[in-house]
Symmetry: C2
Subunit: 253 residues, 2 copies
């Protein structure tokens, strides 16, 4: 096998999300010994301000600036392909600024887009599906990160009618997944299950777990036979495809 | 809380070991939101040659040289405290050379020693225990990485009498944990359980899972009530203690 370009992961949003993405890179790489793997750098950067807070105008500090600084550190190490392990950070208000600043500072850097890869992955792996449940932070849902791209792809996005349970499942300082992830608190699991059943009751045939914390709470790939899709899987596969396509394992759920 | 120094992890030996250590850093850090965590850089470096092969003289390339290059990359990013996520790499033939080269190149870098921290952790957390089972790669066992430090601490190391099952559990290109870690193959789990029962039959009161792949195969903290000790936990806690002692959570199994 030829030498692979190092893959960069901007993590820390939350801390387990980048780690989870790094783990999926390994799981989807064809390798029988340590030396077959693709070099990678994971930066767990806690200095990046909360993305949801910015989108709702509670702060004027665009997290994009901190994200650019983090990626520049990875770029200085030779990283030429990078993924950001956070759904909310992919909202246009943040991600467009991030990409624009990086285009001039790191001109030959390939930035893989989590949401675009997820929608493309649904189209190729679930070609007969029309109705797609979308869960995520308030920012992801309100700003329709998935919805807009799903509609453009001819799919029908379905958000939960009752979002009250999902925000504390992610953010509650005692029981939320960001505060308490190993193991996840029962209250957070219940909040997520309620939201899944909400979109399924509205007709969802697959459900996107569109916040990097959510798959930590429901590790099973299905709920009552409905596929639960982890966007990090699609991102990991796209990163491998960009860095070392000959090492990408075949798709498996 | 005051700003924390970034923690560096040299990973890739195998690929999941560094990821697992990063995850333990998060789990042992006092935090209620993303921004409370400690900045960290994980380098998954597959270019580091096999440590066991070197120790047995099958190659003359000391992995220490590659390890030094990797740590220098992390140091250039501002890392001042680093851990190496590999047991075998801590054998004196490799680690002494690694430390010696780093001392001149990165003079203010603190290198936390996985084996020393594990022995110190046993002394403080299990003060009444005398007999300590030690599992690991052939290199770790033959070169007595844990045994020598355990004896120095007044403890009695016990190695498995039959090591035939442990090497394939780690290295087999089809069923070994390095090739197949999510999920681990049943044959690898059985090989490890056999080795645990071997040292317990000889009187071990706790068992060190002294290869970073092994805890992936037995996630439970005990086997028939005998504590299984994951050295990565002791390393993670020592790294937090060095970088941001006010954020170290109390000990829990």
């Amino acid at each position: 096998m030829k030498a692979a370009q190092p893959i960069g992961i901007l993590g820390g949003m939350g801390p387990q999300a980048g780690i989870d993405l790094a783990s999926k890179l390994v799981a989807h790489t064809r390798a029988t010994k340590d030396q077959d793997h693709i070099p990678s750098f994971l930066y767990g950067d806690p200095s990046i301000p909360d993305r949801t807070q910015f989108l709702f105008g509670h702060t004027t500090v665009n997290p994009a600036h901190h994200m650019v600084e983090g990626v520049q550190k990875l770029y200085a190490l030779g990283v030429k392909v990078v993924g950001v392990a956070c759904n909310t950070a992919h909202s246009p208000g943040i991600f467009d600024e991030f990409k624009s600043q990086l285009r001039s500072r790191c001109p030959d850097l390939t930035i893989i887009h989590l949401i675009e890869e997820t929608v493309a992955g649904i189209q190729s792996q679930y070609p007969h599906i029309k109705n797609v449940g979308v869960l995520g932070t308030e920012g992801t849902l309100r700003f329709k990160l998935y919805d807009n791209l799903l509609v453009k792809a001819g799919l029908n996005p379905i958000q939960p009618r009752h979002q009250d349970a999902l925000t504390p499942a992610i953010f509650d300082p005692k029981t939320g997944i960001k505060a308490c992830s190993s193991p996840v608190h029962g209250a957070a699991v219940q909040g997520l299950v309620d939201a899944i059943e909400d979109v399924v009751a509205q007709g969802a045939e697959v459900v996107i777990l569109g916040c990097t914390e959510l798959p930590l709470a429901v590790p099973s790939p299905t709920h009552n036979l409905i596929p639960l899709l982890d966007p990090a899987v699609f991102l990991a596969r796209a990163l491998i495809q960009a860095a070392a396509p000959d090492r990408l394992l075949p798709w498996r759920v």
